[in-house]
Amino acid sequence: MRLEPVANPGLLRRLGLPAAALVATVVTGSLLALSAGADPLATLGLIVTGAVGSKFAALETLNRATPLIFTGLAVAVAFRAKLWNIGAEAQLYAGALVTAVLGAHPIVTGVPGVALIGLAAALAGALVLLGPVLLKTRLGVDEVVTTLLLNFVLLLVVSMLLEGVLKDPMGMGWPKSAPVAKSVRLPRLIEGLRLHWGFGLALIAAGLVWLMQARMRLGYEIRAVGLNRAAARFAGVPVGAVLVKTALISGGLAALAGYSEVAGLKGTLTLDLSPGFGYTGVIVAMLAALHPGGVVVAALFVAGVFVGSDAMSRAAGVPSYIADLLLASALLYMVLAMQLVRYRVVWR
């Protein structure tokens, strides 16, 4: 068995294989449900209705997808430059922290306040990734290690602050921050629907990232650096500066996930703000093949699986861990499918 490159993969190949990956995921899910002693079709049906079956469910899925779009974009932008940012979780918490501090401050109010908090949060995330990228470009320190470890550092810092200076005096002893003032909360996207402007911002961010990757000089530079650093350097692409810019954008996007969760959904910062949105962002970006439009689709899919599985678990008694297994298998099948789009298998 060997792989032969496909020069120009056709439309059937490019769409059919990802579709086949989706089918394989469903089959795997069925087997998992079967092993849990439930009716596979009913279980999958419950996941689907749990994700999109009602207005409430669909809105919940969109809400859950919002931070995943941001972290997915953050990872997609960085991975294009082969800058392995595994630290979206840390950048998310940095953004959330700044949002909680500024949002509860009495002098930050109104629309300027909303914008100020957003910018400050993005800046905080960008700065969190700036350290690792400078260590990488100046000293050759592996960013996988530094960004990954910063996740724990940031979480511990947040924990310390929530138990200390940021602890809400009115919080009855719970480790949470004082609530974000009403005037600087992200408003509802449509009045009466439980969906905040964070989702809108995420879609706008995806559009801007697409513009940057496909049309802008920086996107071209990022791809050049990612695909062949030596050739990029030789041709005069300022590799170090491109990596720094990439890191600032990536860190900023991840931080907006924290901003949107605190200022949009929760209104306060707690230690369980993110159930691993930063890490799941890697899955989202990979499922999307690093394409910003794909990130939106993949984030909706991943959020749907999570939300749907929770609902299914309550109704059918199958553990909601099935969501993690489904996502893991979806990722593996999709990575395989992407490979098979570019290579055909030749038997003997």
């Binding site: 049309r215 802008m216 000089r217 003997r348």
Partner: protein, 510 residues
């Protein structure tokens, strides 16, 4: 007809091999046979289908039609193991050795079952030593592969094939990476090996090597066999005519008219980088309207000089002077801004980005000028590339194709176009024709000469002394990072330059 004229055992037969990649027919009903103890040269321009044919023979590609027979047995297509088992060994243009392993480990790699507990290295080492002795392949089995020279690595690749009891050895452009001396040693090895019954297919487009090394020549053009002759019955011009389909006139180079000094190195020293020597107090003048040829054995400081002019490194001491002043900031973009056009030594690693399209590669050095408000002007970039493709005769599926699909010659033409269209005042041509076929060589040379005649200062770095002596108005020799004085065209013969290359003249000068 073979050299001996007697009928000999046929060890390899390719019959009607056809391979298509999309619309391109890389091999069109190619047939070829190889007798025991024979060296057959496979000659053809870049993209003529030589490498594809060998990849099919070795099982890397599956042919659309045709069969491969080794020792009378038809091989199952697309199975490298079957080819190895039948006794076919291949030495690729780009070596496939693990740098961090010893020579012996590289040779043994893949020959032992995974679950065998003992390697029995002593016996293996003895066998490698014996093979090395028999075939005159001098190399230390315990040396770390990463520390070896290119010539030594090639010997390891050949030993690897012999260790696996190869009866047929395929060498894909074996001399492309070798110095003239190393090439000579390789030919001697091949003569010993064929005397012992090994058969060799030698892929090349260097005519004099083909004449020296092969018994028979098979010429490919556009994927078809267009000629098959014994080397005794042919001549380099006849082969060249077959290859390109017409008699090639090598350009007759008139002397350049030297103008003012455009770039000056003043007592420049750069640090050594591992085994790669830096420059040692080098002074050099590059004049407008003149080609300066840099002769020397590879690995004597050419890379440091090229990196310096490319903007990749800065002098540790001494000065680089452009138009009477030393640039404040020296990097690749500063070099481009100063009007230095750079043809890099390695077009795959530094010259192009394989997964970029032709357009994206064509604007790699000029894209800042194609930016409006942060947006890249794709339309202008594409139009520029279309013109480049037409003007420089780049054969390709189109401007939006990935450059990895192009042959080396066409890739080089695109790089040449990218460099020359920027109208550089100074041109660094580092091994500009390495691995190219005759047609492309003549083309690149004539473009460099017309750039010179238009007033550019050209620095030509090459390990091919004929190329240097043929093109250069001034020849300078580099040896262990030191630069000889300039010798005007025709004042030095190859033998005298060879003395300098070996380091002889420097001791007098010092």
């Amino acid at each position: 007809m073979t050299r001996t004229g007697t009928a000999r055992e046929i060890v390899l037969r390719l019959d009607g091999i056809t391979k298509r990649f999309g619309a391109l027919t890389a091999n069109d009903a190619v047939s070829l046979s190889l007798a025991r103890g024979e060296v057959v040269a496979l000659l053809g321009e870049n993209g003529a289908g030589k490498t594809t044919l060998m990849n099919i023979l070795f099982g890397h590609y599956t042919a659309d039609a045709g069969t491969v027979e080794v020792m009378g047995q038809v091989l199952p297509p697309g199975t490298p193991r079957a080819a190895i088992a039948a006794g076919v060994g291949m030495v690729h243009q780009h070596f496939t050795l693990a740098d961090n392993l010893s020579v012996l480990d590289n040779i043994l790699l893949g020959t032992r079952p995974l679950w065998s507990l003992r390697l029995n290295r002593a016996a293996a080492r003895a066998r490698v030593r014996a093979l090395a002795q028999d075939f005159g392949l001098k190399v230390d089995p315990e040396a770390r592969t990463g520390a070896l020279s290119v010539g030594e690595r090639q010997r390891v690749e050949i030993l690897k094939a012999l260790y696996r009891e190869a009866q047929v050895l395929i060498l894909d452009e074996p001399t492309a990476v070798l110095t003239p001396q190393e090439s000579e040693a390789l030919f001697a090895t091949l003569r010993r090996a064929t005397a012992r019954g090994l058969s060799v297919i030698f892929i090349s487009h260097k005519l004099h090597e083909v004449m020296a090394a092969a018994d028979r020549v098979v010429v490919l053009r556009h994927g078809k066999v267009v000629g098959e002759v014994a080397t005794a019955d042919t001549s380099p011009p006849a082969l060249a005519a077959m290859m390109v389909g017409a008699e090639v006139a090598l350009p007759r180079v008139a002397a350049g008219v030297p103008g003012p000094v455009l770039l000056r190195l003043d007592d420049v020293t750069t640090p050594d980088e591992g085994a790669r020597p830096g420059l040692k107090q080098v002074s050099l003048d590059l004049r407008a309207g003149q080609i300066t040829g840099l002769a020397g054995v590879s690995g004597n400081g050419q890379a440091a000089l090229a990196d310096l002019l490319s903007g990749l490194i800065v002098p540790a001491s001494g000065r680089l002077i452009l138009s009477d002043e030393a640039p404040a900031d020296w990097n690749p973009r500063a070099a481009l801004a100063a009007g230095i056009g750079r043809i890099p030594e390695d077009r795959h690693r530094t010259g192009t980005i394989a997964d970029f399209t032709l357009t994206e590669n064509a604007i790699l050095e000029t894209y800042p000028q194609l930016t409006r408000a942060g947006l890249l002007d794709h339309r202008t970039a594409r139009r520029f590339t279309e013109e480049l493709i037409a003007d420089y005769d780049v054969r390709c599926p189109g401007p939006e194709a990935r450059i990895r699909l192009l042959s080396g010659g066409n890739m080089q033409k695109l790089i040449l176009g990218r460099v020359l269209e920027a109208r550089p005042r100074i041109i660094l041509a580092n091994q500009p024709v390495r691995g190219l076929d005759i047609g492309a060589v003549a083309y690149v040379h004539s473009r460099l000469i017309s750039a010179r005649d238009a007033g550019a200062a050209v620095l030509l770095i090459s390990e091919d002394l004929d190329e240097i002596m043929g093109l250069s108005d001034v020849v300078q020799v580099i040896s262990e990072g030191r630069l000889s004085p300039g010798f005007a065209r025709g004042t030095m013969g190859a033998a005298e330059l060879g003395q300098w290359m070996a380091g002889a003249g420097f001791d007098h000068a010092a």
